[in-house]
Symmetry: C2
Subunit: 484 residues, 2 copies
């Protein structure tokens, strides 16, 4: 029996290639049981005419499906659903499950309802996205990333791609981090002192799990990265929020009895404040006096375009007291999910064992592709290009904000990718953000960053990492108008 050409239609919403869509359509027809084994497919000429595509596209799709044994070719007579094609799926039973589980009781630990706010997934549709931490397609070196990933997909890297590495990392990536990335921050580390993580988020989570218990105390900056507070809540430790000032975390306000201090000296998150060198030494001294550890989140050090970045806290640490968190999320892209922890070997061993239990290891392909991108110099070129664009955007932002009288509450001394902003008293920036969103502008309300019971509501963050310079003046004008 021949399958009528009327059975075929291309999914107009799909953004796959035509050939892929034809393959999918036929494979899914077979899997759903609509096309049966032995049935004849329309000729490539007929199907091409019906779908309005070129005949070669249909032929290529058929050929692929023959290779995967969905179809067979019978000489000149055409293509048929193969006798070895997969069995159709069982008919969809109406498995209307009546949920008899009392989930309120069954769930032992809750993780929803944390401090981390919802963020718009569709940010790229907005014309004025002052959004933080997403990738700008006009800056990212997609072509070379692709080439590096293709190289990592090659036969030579088969084991790196496919293998279960148990608790290990890609040695090429670790070596590059040790020999090239960390020395730029003044940090000398051996592979046994480095652990590759699923971004800085995962690094902070691992550090908190290893170092904290319900009997220990963590000091965090206030305001801080909201997801860090969620991570610390999970560890059940005592948490001391320490208000930051224009120089970041003040060491003398870290309470006695603190076991672990979480800090962001390069660009305080979210105020962007840069901790001066003297304060870095003072913070190390304070930690030494209490025998506390420091977790240094250096998440954006690459974006130092105004002047050279200050040395990392870790580079000043002579005691092994600082645990360093690096990330490729800002410098490459967050969907990569790669970061790293640097610390003394006994700590890294525990973090490695925990990572293995939670997820084994970051996928081999991502690690190897990143290793190529770094070692071929594309990473440095990308950072230079990005820093150049950010410097320009920052100038345009500062001019526009001055013109419209917007008030900057914090900015990085070396660069960074955002400003911390203060609206007049009485302005609720959550409502401001909602109003602006309807006007094609995205800003980030500041309230979720604060730990206090009665957080100030008039702060907000404006990032320039994803908005073209040319759109900044109009975006800033709209914000100023909405505040008025």
């Amino acid at each position: 029996m021949a399958i009528s050409v009327e059975n075929f239609f291309l999914d107009p919403r799909s953004d796959a290639t035509l050939q892929s869509r034809i393959q999918q359509m036929i494979a899914q027809g077979i899997l759903s049981g609509r096309f049966r084994r032995g049935e004849k497919l329309p000729s490539s000429r007929k199907l091409a005419a019906h779908l309005g595509v070129s005949r070669i596209t249909v032929t290529l799709a058929y050929t692929e499906l023959v290779a995967s044994d969905y179809l067979t070719a019978r000489g000149r007579s055409g293509y048929y659903v193969s006798e070895n094609a997969p069995e159709p799926l069982p008919p969809t039973q109406s498995m209307v499950v009546e949920d008899r589980v009392d989930w309120v009781r069954a769930i032992g630990q809750r993780f929803t309802g944390g401090a981390a706010p919802e963020k718009p997934q569709d940010w790229a549709r907005y014309r004025y996205p002052f959004i933080y931490g997403q990738t700008d397609s006009t800056l990212f070196d997609h072509a070379n990333w692709r080439l590096c990933a293709v190289q990592a997909l090659g036969q030579k890297d088969f084991a790196a791609l496919t293998a279960d590495q148990y608790d290990q990392d890609d040695p090429k990536l670790v070596e590059f981090i040790a020999r090239h990335t960390l020395p730029r921050r003044g940090i000398i580390a051996e592979p046994a002192q480095i652990l590759v993580t699923m971004g800085a988020q995962n690094a902070l989570w691992l550090a908190a799990q290893v170092l904290l218990t319900q009997r220990r105390r963590a000091a965090v900056e206030d305001p801080c990265y909201p997801a860090l507070r969620d991570v610390l809540m999970q560890s059940r430790c005592h948490m001391s929020p320490v208000p930051v000032d224009a120089d970041g975390l003040p060491p003398d306000r870290v309470p006695d009895g603190t076991d672990v201090i979480f800090t962001t000296p390069s660009h305080q998150s979210p105020t962007s404040a840069t901790m001066p060198l003297a304060r870095r030494h003072a913070l190390l001294e304070r930690a030494r006096a209490m025998d506390a550890l420091i977790v240094e989140d250096d998440y954006e050090f690459e974006m130092a375009f105004l002047r050279k970045p200050s040395p990392a806290l870790k580079s000043l640490d002579r005691d092994g007291r600082v645990i360093y968190v690096g990330s490729f999320s800002k410098s490459l892209f967050p969907g990569l999910r790669l970061g790293y922890l640097v610390g003394s070997a006994p700590f890294i061993r525990e973090a490695r064992a925990l990572r293995a239990s939670v997820l084994r290891h970051p996928p081999g392909l991502m690690q190897r592709a990143a290793a190529y991108f770094l070692s071929l110099g594309h990473y440095d070129a990308l950072i230079r290009r990005t820093a150049h664009a950010y410097a320009e955007r920052r100038r345009v932002m500062e001019a526009a904000m001055a013109e419209h009288g917007l008030s900057i509450a914090g900015r990085g001394a070396h660069g960074g990718s955002s400003f911390w902003m203060e609206a007049p008293d009485g302005v609720d920036t959550a409502r401001l953000a909602a109003r602006l969103r309807d006007n094609d502008v995205l800003i980030e309300p500041g309230q979720p960053f604060f730990a206090r019971d009665d957080p100030p509501r008039n702060f907000y963050r404006l990032a320039y990492s994803s908005i073209p310079a040319a759109r900044i003046p109009e975006g800033v004008a709209r914000i100023a108008a909405a505040i008025r």
Copy 2:
């Protein structure tokens, strides 16, 4: 000043392309400060002759380095280190840190020392690797995986590749799992009931964290996957090991007061026992009577080549009591780090929030590439090819083991990829494995799978997922000789 050609040498240990190695060598020379800004590089002819490579290779490397701003081309006069080249790294300070931290005290929670055994990373060097869970390069469809990954690296998928998805998954992958993968197991689920995880390991970990506390009890099979016991230890729950028999987990031996039952009905890990349908119903009945939940690890259901797989427990569940764990580690490859959880929406919400806090989400590229591989039919073709090879290897194994009098303690009714073996009393298979390793044979000792204080030492696992059929008879002969 010109850089002498003597400064250049290619790393002979590298397996990168010649062009990549040349680029790396030059980039690293600049980063290390050996090559300074403005210095002239050797002509491509000279360097090619010195390195023994073709001139075009050197020219291509130079051109790439110009594009990344490491070098500049000055007309006919040649290539120079660019004035915009990255600054050399700071000189390696001899940062001899004296570790002053008492790590025994500083580490709040230990994760090393778990049950999961060390496994040989270099298994592919052995001639007779009866190793479990690694990818056979002769079976895996590397070419199409690569094509799908390249497609996922395309401009159309830029956002899927790069974006911070916060707590979300790739909708294409989730849709395929819901519409095609799960229906094959008789499971109907909506996207809100599915969470993509970093392999089954991560799925089990998330389920244990959400469902268990120190006041709850988990029943686990004995023997079982050792890493699962580590996961349950972390949740601090009470753990009841339940000895399995030839039909897997016996429902009537699950102790009263159990909150969550962890089971592997398709292929019990490690005995490969398949749970008969009647026992599946009885297990559900037992869970219902206790109001317990079941976590069903269906990690290898695709490898059913002897007869059709039994329906998943989840497909028989009318109460929403079963949480289903799927994995692409065995059917695709473990380095992919992709699996999924299926369960009621309230459970999935908590697991999703926890995953976001621990690692955000599996990398976009891995999810999108898998979605293409699945939806283009390559996955089904791969499974058919793999199942065909495994069926053959299993026949050869059974014949060889019968010939040499090796005793099979467990094997899957539908297929699987391994046998559970019993050596004579008094044989310690850990020592047997060490001896065989020196004889080019890898086997897996059985002791780490057992929860008991005094575990039997004479069991071992022989997998046929990574050893060619032709080598099996000699491998089995060596095992038999070593046992004698």
